[in-house]
């Protein structure tokens, strides 16, 4: 990456980020990690033919229409057109599932549907299929404001997520809030610490050279503070996501985003 802060270059950068700031920055100072990226990475996310995450979206569309399981049903057989019926769904997840008596994130919902409706084996965590389907469903909400459901049954889970967010953890004894509230915008080595709004998951990280879920991001942070990561699909992650989504309420969904 070039680092010559000539006047002209910074003007270009300001114009670029201003154009997208409308979508990514709220008036209350919350900002998406999108704004902390270089103009080149922002361009990558904005161009659907350059954003590698779109490859997973295409796979997801194929999976949406593919029959699976003993029920021999596809997602489309029940939900029909994703562009219509999945609009805004990712913006309101995690949601409470009465069947499970706990909140489910979008990936949990996909796997629950797979098990009960399609009678197929659930996808493995971080599998290409699960990421592809959640990216495809997530994309249907792109640009819509994050709208956590106002469901009183979610409140205790959200409170536990908030407690976990503020809980010091690991050998380095850091909480999420230590970085993402107290020191957001500062640098950790060469990287800008984002505010930690999960607006674009699953997203393509250039470092991963792959699409990854929010839970993979959580694992990265937990390992970073030398804590034992929770297992994929654990309730802790869903609770944390619940809290983060309420914290990011109203910010536009960017799925499938790209990040460095």
């Amino acid at each position: 990456m070039t680092a010559f802060p000539t006047a002209r270059l910074s003007v270009v950068a300001v114009v670029c980020s201003f154009a997208t700031a409308v979508a990514a920055q709220t008036t209350d100072g919350r900002r998406s990690g999108f704004l902390d990226m270089s103009p080149q990475s922002q361009a990558l996310q904005k161009d659907d033919t350059a954003n590698p995450a779109m490859l997973w979206v295409l796979d997801g569309e194929a999976l949406w229409n593919a029959k699976a399981g003993r029920a021999d049903k596809s997602c489309a057989d029940c939900h029909q057109d994703a562009a219509v019926n999945m609009q805004g769904v990712a913006a309101r997840y995690p949601a409470f599932s009465a069947e499970h008596n706990r909140p489910l994130d979008l990936q949990g919902r996909i796997n629950a549907c797979r098990e009960t409706r399609q009678q197929a084996t659930p996808f493995a965590p971080e599998s290409k299929e699960l990421l592809a389907l959640s990216a495809y469903i997530g994309k249907q909400s792109r640009g819509m404001p994050i709208a956590p459901p106002n469901d009183p049954r979610l409140a205790p889970f959200r409170a536990r997520g908030e407690a976990l967010y503020k809980q010091r953890i690991g050998q380095l004894n850091f909480s999420c809030a230590n970085c993402h509230d107290d020191n957001a915008g500062q640098k950790l080595a060469s990287a800008v610490i984002p505010q930690g709004h999960p607006t674009g998951y699953p997203l393509y990280r250039l470092e991963w050279q792959n699409l990854g879920s929010l839970q993979r991001r959580f694992r990265g942070c937990l390992v970073g503070v030398r804590a034992e990561p929770f297992a994929y699909g654990s309730e802790e992650y869903v609770e944390l996501e619940l809290f983060l989504m309420s914290r990011a309420k109203g910010m536009p969904v960017e799925t499938p985003a790209a990040r460095p």
Binding site: D47, D48, T49, A50, P52, M54, L55, L58, D59, Q209
Partner: protein, 106 residues
């Protein structure tokens, strides 16, 4: 087979310089990544990319292990005639992925 995304301008004026952008999903396994037992994941990269217009080659690239997964290749050409653009990516397993796109020159 792998997914590919191709971006060709919908219409081009004769003599205009156009940018063609391609993106393909591929692991681009370098051959240098060790497994748990000390052996290496075998190299599997796309080593050649070719674009032809009406059968005539207009762009070719050799790719090497340092190129990231899901390679994005963008190049420019002068729009001289309408026709069919054929793209092919050839990887170490000898598999060739072919895609096509129409180029309309007015």
């Amino acid at each position: 087979m792998a997914r590919a995304l191709i971006n060709v301008p919908p219409k081009a004026k004769r003599g205009e310089v156009i940018e063609i952008k391609t993106l393909i999903s591929h692991p681009m396994e370098t051959g240098y990544r060790p497994k748990g037992d000390g052996s290496f994941y075998p190299r599997d990269i796309i080593h050649k990319f070719v674009c032809t217009l009406n059968g005539e080659e207009i762009f070719r690239a050799d790719l090497y292990p340092a190129i990231a997964a899901n390679p994005f290749i963008s190049f420019t050409t002068v729009a001289r005639e309408s026709g069919l653009l054929m793209f092919s990516w050839i990887d170490d397993r000898g598999e060739a992925q072919m895609e096509s796109a129409k180029l309309v020159v007015e």
